[in-house]
Symmetry: D2
Subunit: 373 residues, 4 copies
Amino acid sequence: MTQKIRTAILGASGYTGAELIRLLMRHPHVDIVLITADRKAGQPIENVFPHLGGEGLPDLMAIDDVEWAGLELDVVFCALPHATSQRIIKGILHDTGHGFIDEMVIETPEDYANAIQGSVKVIDLSADFRLRDADTYAQWYGGEHDALALQKEAVYGLTEHYREDIKKARLVACPGCYPTAALLALIPLLKQKVIQKDGIVIDAKSGVSGAGRSLKEGNLFAEVSEAMHPYGIAAHRHTPEIEQELSLALGEDVLLTFTPHLVPMNRGELETIYVSLEDGKSASDLRELLQKQYRSEPFVTVLDEGATPATRHVRGSNNTHIAVFEDRVPGRAIIVVVIDNLVKGSSGQAIQNMNLMFGLDETLSLEQMALFP
Amino acid sequence: MTQKIRTAILGASGYTGAELIRLLMRHPHVDIVLITADRKAGQPIENVFPHLGGEGLPDLMAIDDVEWAGLELDVVFCALPHATSQRIIKGILHDTGHGFIDEMVIETPEDYANAIQGSVKVIDLSADFRLRDADTYAQWYGGEHDALALQKEAVYGLTEHYREDIKKARLVACPGCYPTAALLALIPLLKQKVIQKDGIVIDAKSGVSGAGRSLKEGNLFAEVSEAMHPYGIAAHRHTPEIEQELSLALGEDVLLTFTPHLVPMNRGELETIYVSLEDGKSASDLRELLQKQYRSEPFVTVLDEGATPATRHVRGSNNTHIAVFEDRVPGRAIIVVVIDNLVKGSSGQAIQNMNLMFGLDETLSLEQMALFP
Amino acid sequence: MTQKIRTAILGASGYTGAELIRLLMRHPHVDIVLITADRKAGQPIENVFPHLGGEGLPDLMAIDDVEWAGLELDVVFCALPHATSQRIIKGILHDTGHGFIDEMVIETPEDYANAIQGSVKVIDLSADFRLRDADTYAQWYGGEHDALALQKEAVYGLTEHYREDIKKARLVACPGCYPTAALLALIPLLKQKVIQKDGIVIDAKSGVSGAGRSLKEGNLFAEVSEAMHPYGIAAHRHTPEIEQELSLALGEDVLLTFTPHLVPMNRGELETIYVSLEDGKSASDLRELLQKQYRSEPFVTVLDEGATPATRHVRGSNNTHIAVFEDRVPGRAIIVVVIDNLVKGSSGQAIQNMNLMFGLDETLSLEQMALFP
Amino acid sequence: MTQKIRTAILGASGYTGAELIRLLMRHPHVDIVLITADRKAGQPIENVFPHLGGEGLPDLMAIDDVEWAGLELDVVFCALPHATSQRIIKGILHDTGHGFIDEMVIETPEDYANAIQGSVKVIDLSADFRLRDADTYAQWYGGEHDALALQKEAVYGLTEHYREDIKKARLVACPGCYPTAALLALIPLLKQKVIQKDGIVIDAKSGVSGAGRSLKEGNLFAEVSEAMHPYGIAAHRHTPEIEQELSLALGEDVLLTFTPHLVPMNRGELETIYVSLEDGKSASDLRELLQKQYRSEPFVTVLDEGATPATRHVRGSNNTHIAVFEDRVPGRAIIVVVIDNLVKGSSGQAIQNMNLMFGLDETLSLEQMALFP
């Protein structure tokens, strides 16, 4: 690749934005030409994230001041809040000279490829394009979606399961951190019908960076440290996202129990998933199925029997560790998944998708091993 | 009470031992006359726990050097490892001049009261007398029980549910930390048959002090901090203890799923319990039942709808907070329980039992509010 | 004492306010009749601090809605921000029917005692009345003092060194957390001229609760955890306070170096103090002098040679641990002091002063031992 | 470079060993052909460090089982305890067919180059070859040095100040973590005589990984978390190392005060250094001098006035941040330095040296940015 990918990062003052910069600065084919942060507009990045300074990044801009046409962007990473994302992405696609798919006649993959030819590609890290159903979006996110055509066009960016679609996509909606871990474990098991769809319980635990950098009392050090609590019980917005993808995998509606907890650590996400086996299936069957499924994946490891996942083994890396355990209760199994919520659960997976979208080696800039201790 | 209770603490160099001292030193009716720690024998307590120094405690002794007869002990707290506990407790009861109950004719409560009259009372914090069945003990703890008569005599020290038995007991087996939290939530629900006995899942999270002060690589700061992982999946020794008490409460065998996790905090335990409701029952019914059950309990609070328990709200205190949530999945509910594993989950509950056994106000020396932040 | 002390806590939604409540709720002679928090007015305390609920506290009020006259308060703890404190305290003293000292003829202690007879006593935890000099206050706190007469009247609440004055005071200005630790170590050494006044370096480290509960990015968990940094280098407002008291102790101006650091822990404060010895003096001399000074103090322990202070040994308690070490550099010594910043460094010391002001045993409600682990 | 550097890591079960592997596995010119760990001999690395598994590393060996001759090693990283290191390194140099320098006639750099031609290069991370004086070693490390000729030959591996010597060396002694930070700040200042040699105070704070992975009660999570304390006051072994290098830089003996503290974080080291300026010098002079000194260094950044170093800004990276502050006390300045103790303070600097020794770009495999949050 002779020319670098001209890259923008919108929302660069949050943790996912910072993580995108950290990883992309070492990407051999990426050139970051725009970083935005409305409340920090005009400042150098080292004012906001001193660890990212001294590398020649452009100063932060306000989104409304960006002149999109002149930037000749190849890709935009959008790390903005939901609702804002849809508005901005719609605008960018318009301002960079592209109409919307629904205004064209798209009947074949070739039509689509032609339609988006030359368009900037958009990788959205918000929740705005994850849900495929407009009503479900409105119900869980408290308002109508403002870019329905794009919502339809968007490809769900769970790399290991939508790789071919992602390669051809213009707009990729990166999964939430909790769905990433849950779906990597459960999609193959439901698709192959080795577990029952009823009674799935996902007990999730996350480090505090998952809550972002916004100022909330509940995220203060003295509130979180030396403490733990669940939140959003039976009401977390990642639930319909998990159910959507599992229902698609199985071909039937899946309804499940999902409970996230806040853990006093910066990074890391662990999900303990309780499932009922289909008749005649064992925990070993599940393990073997997952090992076969992910054998050649660079970022998913299914552990051998006896090994236990721990968040520290994936800290700072794009890796996923999955293990399956036989329960004492007959006919039941326990699956444990760990990821780094900011890498595989967010910015790392987004870059993995970018690599795919530009025909690059999927692991570029994501090769680093876990930082332990 | 004019005379102080002459008290011994065996195993005073561990965290539960230290916690007993911390609380009992401020008990108006307790006089600590013996503290033991074999590997620290001969040393003043401040060498082992500087925060407990300067209070006039006796130096640590080796257990084998203790002359039990002369101490005129009223109560012994035993914070020794399992297997050791049974041997020591058997010896103490013998050496302080009391035979064993099975060598006497015990037909009525009065017989028992006469038999133990004048005996030292023993409050065991180990696992040795928690399981009522000798085979179950042998199976889970890897060896025959060495004091079967005492195993039968022991009263299970879950204060809120065995209060009357504890008052009259000579030997109380304090529950494990995980069982304490689980049983306070589940016993009333199973007893009243508002939840189903099948499919109960207890996802438990504990601070690191639960692992004790022994030197294991997995308990080093750099291994645990900024990290989280499950352990003892489907194999933790607290499982048969929980099942035993729930089976007793229900009158039928209960088999359940229990998964503990290690969380980077010193203290605190949180259990997220997933249950299926009996037909026609709702989460509100469960909440009301529990609120009614514990209304007059000093150390159990069932939160109103909408409030979420957090370990920081009970840190350092003997309190239990329980909340019930309706799940999105019809017919299912989620129960969250928090305790401080070293207080209500161990030393605090032990002292609560001691207060009962000596006819004192149950809250003595346990009144302190949670230490937050 | 037959009647309870009618007590108000202003600024009860911050950490020092919560700590006052935690401790005073167990005080045998205190009745909390008013708690205020402007932004939480009308709410029960459990909304703001769930660990303090269920104890029958009054709901939070806005300060401006309080009718002071009718409350018949005996004491007011003021845990408000500086500048606000002076305005509110001035108003309270006025509204509860007392003039100001400077409007009266005060020539003898008896005059003062008469003047304040029947007045509500005020214990201020803010910085407003700590500095004795109006210009120094204006210089470091960015504005003129609004209650100069009260500033003069206020007694500096470092209990161990101003005990007699505190007993007779109407208005006590509790020291800052950093000054408390520094002054307990240094006042006796400078007063007795065993160390030199020049070249004193105080390197201070504090847990995050010292920064309060206000929403600042720098106090977010993900910023502070697994991290450390200094702040306010050569510019922290506790510096003139330390210098003021040391200058008074010595009778000469003291100018020193003070650098605070933020440490990823909730509570705890450690100061490492570097001093030059006066000719012929040794570290042992300093230790002996301090041991003699504090021998009968309930809350200051000077450790024997070889023992090292650690914040965990005083966590949650009102204790101070001080140790003196000989440096390798001839003529120099190193002094280490630890306190819990929220207890001895703030609310605990305030209550210690209250006990004095009401003729009570100084240790009431402050007897609890450190919470470790 | 066509052929890979055949590399051994001795002591791979400790944290510095793991960090060497983490970084070297991504080095384009390194092939790790031997990893040793006596107590874990025969095991795959994933048993010891699961985060390093799946990369095709050889199994761990016991050192005594290694057949050095056949390995054709190019470089050995020695992460063994002191005393052991000298014995092993001496043996390796002998067994791989090289005599010792003192048995040859070495009069010119060319003689030395000839003598070590073809020899395996050794990069030692222990303390064994840091001290240049045999007596000082014996005094601080409790025993005679067993490889005095090698002690003389060894080059002190503070890259930025001994670059040319390191390039030509056979044996490099990497500095301790504390000396690395202290010397980077102080060597230029003393060499240029802008600060006084007397009265230097280094107040150092380190994360817990600096204490290694060995089982000590003081390193348990529940002892360290939510706590802080100093250790080795006036007696830490890094003191003579710092003094040695500063004395060399200045040409006069330097004696200073050094106090390390343990901080509840995994990684990170911060030193607050208090110095007296030479007449006429200011903090700005120091800052300018350091900025000039390190302008072209890839891993040392001297911050502009107003910026404050924080360990989180260098976490996981090989970077050093230094800042200079003017003190309020005339004639004094405060210097703050941060590094990651496991990277620049240990394994990263070792690799930086390896790159130099093999004529490679100094930054290879050390380019990653800090991991924040």
